[in-house]
């Protein structure tokens, strides 16, 4: 038996399996544990409470809580499997002890595992009629009533086993049987039902509109041992529920007094949880401090376990019936109307307590240095109505101080949905004002103060939620004790005792002292500061009074343990002018640590209210919780969206050929498009020069299947296209295509492409690769909202067709070979015409004469199934002409040499067709979308930015795409700034055809600057650049026909 573990005669040990011993290691120290332990309970069982020191002040700290609210005991758990994560910032109270686990205490701040996390995480979507969050008594009662109606019911619970708060107690009964057994039996009975799911180790972290709740499931205690490939370490559940029942319980609050952060100062409920769930005694000599009846169950349990409780310090002036009975039964002393005012720790005291009680020594009797700074004595005193010590301070020896400052309902999921809360004076807690629509809040989350009431609320909520989804069953309410507890007397801020700012911490005496409120705020014998300070009676000379009421010195009255923030820090925020808790939290960082203020948030409000002499914590605001309720690993949120599954790669039917021929790919939207096909040792520049030369001199071919394609049918289709395109389409003959421009209503270019007329009432429109979906939406929008009377329909056929561009002087020879049935001569098959054909291998095809390079060129369209076969046919037919596959980069260079614009590269939504030099494609006769914008004063300005060519004068320097252009001689020093810019380079390449670099640009008044020399920076040097026409080759268009 280890130092802190108690036997079955002393504890039910609800949560542990005494037949399954395991060993875990913290900071290299092996600890005996049982299955069901957490690292925290194992650590306490080994006789220690201390964890890593505090984040900023390096003060000794110990385990405070037994659940997710733990502020101190943070671990880094070492990776246990290859590729598995070393996880940081895990509260020891939530890390389940498994054989071989090795962890290290952290000082408040961890690091992401630099080696990454290759464990398997995924997500799942689930729909349910009723979702219940929390498998404590209220949640189980709700689940039972909902599930028995046949309603789809999901019960999620963060714990490894059902029961919630019942696991922390003993001796309670529900329907006459042991409460823990009742919880287990109830769930066992439900688990067989087809539409019921109980998900343990599953934390609901976020609640969103329409009852959409996100929960994270940890697969097992031993999450790091992969069950099998594909079984996730953690799974993120996306739950959509018709009704949500929150049975999330309550968190206990600490008390704020001097040196309230020593190891050994714990939440009373946690001490009880360790005793009854884990069979672990937090100490041997435990003092309790409380503000209500909640600690008296702990008193009785400790007494039954044979653990000494010499004293209960209770803030209430008179003992309640419950308190009186428990004190009588256990023989403990009760100090009423009193509060703990400080703690001490010291080598001498440690010996004193240690020798008498055995705490502070390890099992073998050697002095244990592991619990440095642990409480050895507790000071307490009577307090007046303001929480001021008002009598003699007494000191009692103790190794543990179990505190209860009241309970705060866990309402994170409620307030995330903008659910309102109000301050309940009798409970001293924020409780829901009303549930969110479609939700219920039950049990202690709803302020229920007895087991009987919690069960009743849960059962009714489960029954009603199911009924609201149309499922009915008989309501059965489990029965349990419903005795109302005695009154509550909250203590938000316990002054340091008279003449002693911080017992046991003389080094802290004096505190930060920077507060500008320091002198005036602390003299009238009340604990208030703030607005009324100028009205206070006399800023006294009395040094004793100053010492007694100097909250600016209370720098060991911790409010937020994880952030090391104290009453003095709160006071400094108030001194800086803050009043709202939302401001003070941000100024001090209170409640912003990993624990998100689960133990500090309401206490901070209480402290602020006390310092401002306000009535209660609600007077300084309420805090709104944001997801996640508890921290979530990024890797879990990423799930399977990583590596090759990160983002879909869209590929054409021809893609395998590109891969087999060494293509380098470019992402265009989600498409993988070949950028170039390097041969051995070629870099991109070399490959692109070669590919360009091939197209200009012989023949090349490119997969252009990704271009958007929309088939259009309707008697009004010609008129519709007339309205969509800036140029006319109504008179386009059947069998021919035409290049068209589309503008938005603002007159700015937004897409372009060739549209072919297949029949009088049928067209095939092509769009840019990236614009395909947007153009279809654009057509539908105008048809559906503006011109619904028009007879026209659209269907996307982008993926129905694969398209192969064959370009270059020898392209006609290649096409003649693959389509022997058609006459491909210039006379028989003119530019912008198309033919239906059967390829030599039998594939039906539509062949068009379209050029995006200025060269003689064809596009071969085949049903997508045949894409690869058609491509291979072209390759084979072109072999004798040394046909060269080319990619998007070569295509970009070729079109740029010809001065052809790429929408989205050379334009940016501010360029009209006229700016782009394509006024020829804008009709003056018909109306079309964007036409009216061309009459705006700004669009008719002659000096707008125009699309022009740019040639570096030295003939060798390649300009940078995106680089600015400035007038020659413009000073560019910072002193002379700002630098007026006249435009920028939109495209820049090296041209095989021109034997030099060249570019395209948008330049102010560019059409009127032809021949002007301007400048652009390249590698920090200004380069002279000549403005030219954007057409660099074949301005007469002779090459087009071969």
């Amino acid at each position: 038996m280890t130092a802190g573990r108690v036997g079955p005669d002393c504890s039910p040990g609800h949560g542990i399996d005494r037949t399954a011993p395991i060993t875990v290691t913290v900071d290299g120290r092996p600890m005996a544990a049982f299955a069901g332990d957490t690292v925290a309970s194992a650590h306490i069982a080994s006789g220690r409470l201390s964890c890593g020191p505090s984040l900023y002040l390096s003060r000794p700290r110990g385990i405070v809580a037994a659940g997710v609210e733990e502020p101190n005991a943070l671990l880094t758990v070492d990776a246990r499997t290859p590729g598995g994560p070393s996880e940081s910032m895990l509260p020891a109270t939530t890390v389940e002890a498994v054989e071989g686990l090795s962890a290290r205490w952290l000082q408040g701040m961890g690091v992401l595992d630099p080696l990454g996390d290759d464990a398997y995480y995924d997500r799942k979507y689930v729909h349910t009629d009723v979702l219940i969050v929390g498998a404590g008594p209220a949640g189980i009662a709700a689940a039972r009533e909902a599930a028995k109606t046949g309603a789809r019911t999901v019960l999620v619970d963060e714990q490894s086993m059902p029961g919630g708060s019942l696991l922390s107690g003993r001796g309670e009964t529900v329907d006459g049987v042991d409460a823990v057994a009742w919880a287990r039996t109830a769930l066992e009975r439900l688990t067989g039902q087809p539409d019921f799911a109980y998900m343990h180790r599953t934390t609901a972290i976020g609640s969103y509109d329409a009852n959409y709740v996100v929960a994270v499931e940890r697969r097992a205690a031993d999450v790091d041992t992969p069950a099998a490939p594909g079984v996730p370490r953690e799974r993120v559940w996306h739950i959509r529920a018709k009704r949500v029942i929150l049975a999330t319980g309550a968190h206990e609050r600490p008390l704020v007094f001097a040196d309230n952060d020593r190891p050994g100062v714990m939440l009373a409920g946690a001490v009880r949880t360790y005793l009854n769930r884990y069979a672990v005694a937090a100490g041997k000599n435990i003092i309790l401090a409380t503000t209500d009846d909640s600690v008296y169950g702990l008193l009785e349990d400790l007494h039954s376990a044979g653990i000494a409780v010499p004293l209960v310090v209770d803030s209430r002036p008179e003992p309640s019936a419950r308190a009186r009975a428990a004190l009588e039964a256990t023989g403990a002393r009760g100090a009423f109307g009193a509060a703990v005012v400080g703690t001490s720790a010291g080598a001498d005291a440690s010996t004193e307590v240690g020798t008498s009680e055995g705490v502070g020594t390890s099992a073998d009797g050697q002095a244990d240095a592991g619990d440095e700074g642990r409480v050895t004595a507790v000071s307490f005193a009577p307090v007046d109505e303001f929480g001021r010590p008002s009598g003699d301070v007494e000191t009692a020896a103790a190794d543990t101080l179990a505190v209860s400052g009241g309970h705060s309902p866990v309402l994170h999921l409620h307030t995330q949905r903008q659910g309102r809360v109000h301050w309940d004076e009798s409970l001293a807690a924020f409780v829901p004002e009303a549930p969110v629509a479609g939700q219920a809040v039950v049990g202690s989350a709803n302020g229920a103060v007895s087991l009987g009431v919690a069960l009743e609320q849960g059962a009714h909520a489960g029954h009603s939620a199911a009924a609201e989804t149309g499922a009915r069953g008989p309501l059965v309410v489990p029965t349990a004790s419903a005795v109302a507890p005695g009154p509550v007397r909250p203590l938000w801020l316990i002054a340091a005792p008279h003449g002693s700012a911080a017992p046991g911490s003389p080094d802290r005496d004096g505190g930060p002292g920077e507060s500008d409120l320091g002198e005036s705020a602390a003299s009238d014998g009340r604990s208030g500061v703030g607005d009324s300070r100028d009205d206070r009676p006399g800023t006294s000379d009395d040094e004793d009074d100053d010492a007694a009421f100097a909250p600016e010195r209370w720098s060991t009255h911790f409010v937020d343990l994880q952030r090391d923030q104290t009453v003095a820090d709160v006071l400094r925020a108030i001194g800086a002018g803050m009043r709202s808790v939302e401001h003070i939290k941000r100024y001090t960082s209170i409640s912003t640590a990993g624990d998100q203020g689960k133990t500090s948030s309401v206490n901070a409000m209480g402290v602020i209210a006390s310092l401002l002499e306000d009535a209660d914590p609600a007077s300084v605001g309420t805090s709104t919780n944001r997801p996640p309720y508890t921290p979530v690993a990024f890797a879990a949120l990423a799930g399977r969206r990583r590596g090759e599954l990160y983002e879909p790669a869209r590929v054409t039917n021809i893609h395998p050929w590109h891969v087999a021929h060494g293509a380098e790919f470019e992402d265009v939207g989600q498409w993988k498009r070949p950028r170039y096909f390097p041969r051995t040792d070629e870099d991109m520049d070399a490959a692109v020069l070669r590919e360009c030369a091939a197209v200009r001199t012989t023949v090349g071919f490119q997969d252009v299947s990704t271009l958007g394609k929309i088939e259009i049918r309707g008697t009004d289709a010609p008129e519709f296209l007339n309205r969509i395109y800036t140029n006319g389409f109504a008179k386009l003959p059947v069998g021919r295509g035409r290049y068209g421009l589309m503008c938005g209503a603002d007159g700015m270019l937004f897409d372009d492409g060739v549209t072919m007329r297949l029949a009088e009432d049928r067209f095939l429109m092509t769009t840019t690769t990236g614009g395909a979906a947007g153009v279809l939406d654009w057509l539908e929008e105008w048809h559906q909202t503006e011109w619904p009377h028009m007879d026209v329909f659209f269907t996307s056929v982008t993926e129905q067709w694969n398209t192969i561009a064959v370009a270059g002087p020898r392209s006609r020879d290649v096409v003649a070979k693959i389509a022997p049935d058609i006459d491909v001569s210039n006379e028989a098959f003119g530019f912008m015409e198309f033919r239906e054909a059967q390829l030599s291998n039998g594939i039906p095809a539509r062949i068009c004469r379209i050029s995006f390079s200025g060269e003689l060129a064809f596009e071969v369209n085949v049903s997508a199934f045949y894409g690869l076969a058609a491509w291979e046919l072209v390759a084979e037919a072109g072999e004798e002409f040394d046909i060269t596959p080319y990619g998007t980069e070569t295509m970009h260079v070729l079109r740029a040499e010809k001065g052809l614009v790429i929408i989205g590269q050379d334009t940016d939504g501010t360029v009209t067709p006229h700016d782009a030099g394509m006024g020829w494609a804008v009709s003056r006769l018909k109306d079309f979308i964007g036409k009216r914008s061309f009459q705006r004063a700004d669009t008719v300005r002659p000096d707008r930015k125009h699309f022009v060519g740019v040639l570096p004068v030295d003939g060798v320097t390649r300009l940078d795409e995106g680089a600015q252009l400035i007038a020659a001689g413009t000073p560019v020093t910072p002193e002379a700034g700002p630098v007026p810019m006249i435009g920028h380079v939109t495209s820049s390449y090296v041209s095989a055809e021109l034997g030099r670099p060249f570019g395209l640009a948008l330049v102010e008044n560019g059409f009127n600057r032809m021949g002007e020399i301007v400048q652009s920076p390249v590698d920090g040097t200004l380069v002279d650049v000549e403005i030219t026409s954007s057409v660099f080759i074949d301005p007469e268009g002779k090459r087009r026909d071969g």
Binding site: D122, R123, K124, Y125, V126, H127, R152, A228, P229, G230, V231, P232, H238, R240, R640, R641, E644, L645, E647, P648, A649, R650, V651, T652, N653, H655, P656, W671, E711, R713, G714, T715, D761, D791, F793, F794, T795, S796, V797, T798, E799, Q800, W801, N841, G842, I843, P844, S863, A864, F865, Y866, G867, L868, A869
Partner: protein
């Protein structure tokens, strides 16, 4: 037909290897080259009845609905005036849409041309079939839609996302879902599904 290559071509062996028969199994295969027609028409109109007559199947009347035979010719609702017919019992032929489209261009006396559109979309979408007791569980790893039999009965089909991929999800039989992403997404979708199926393969092993 060796010239044809289906969207998930090349993944057949991987799909077979990832499949597990029997409980809690799930199997994945591609249904290749099934004829698919895109239909645009206003339900209840003259053109709709001509199309229905030419198809031999009525058009679905609301979101989620399918008509026809899931093992032969059936029709999926895409939008109020957009439908997709699929015939998994045969292979697409050249000019697949011709006969039905011709019904709209009927120029016999008294008939006349009517609005609407019918186009061959056989290559537009891949058809992947996920079958088995765990098929729903696999899809639930990426599909927001409620797939519970009460909410998504046999014969139901919707356009939605599975993982990051837009697709039609069609419950053709109790434990069989047909997934129809655009063809360019087929390879990614197969990878995604094989990954999601891994859990069930290993449970059995």
């Amino acid at each position: 037909m060796h010239l044809r290559r289906s969207p998930a071509h090349g993944a057949a062996a991987e799909m077979a290897a990832a499949s597990v028969a029997g409980p809690p199994g799930v199997m994945l295969r591609e249904i290749a080259f099934a004829p698919q027609l895109g239909v645009r028409t206003v339900p209840g109109s003259a053109s709709a009845s001509r199309i229905e007559r030419a198809l031999g199947v009525s058009l679905p009347s609301s979101v989620g609905e399918t008509t026809g035979d899931p093992d032969a010719l059936h029709c999926v609702w895409i939008s109020p005036d957009e439908f997709l017919t699929i015939d998994v019992s045969r292979t697409q032929e050249h000019g697949e849409a011709g006969a039905v489209a011709a019904a709209l261009d009927d120029d016999r006396p008294g008939a006349g041309r009517v609005p609407g559109q019918v186009v061959d979309l056989s290559g537009n979408r891949a058809i992947l079939e996920l079958t088995g007791p765990s098929a729903r569980a696999v899809l639930e790893k990426g599909c927001h839609v409620d797939l519970h039999p009460r909410a998504f009965p046999v014969g139901h089909a919707v356009s939605t996302l599975v993982g990051p991929v837009p697709m039609i999800v069609h419950r053709s039989h109790g434990e069989t879902f047909r997934l129809l992403p655009r063809s360019s997404f087929a390879q990614y979708t197969v990878r995604w599904l094989i990954d999601a199926m891994l859990e069930f393969r290993t449970i059995r092993a």
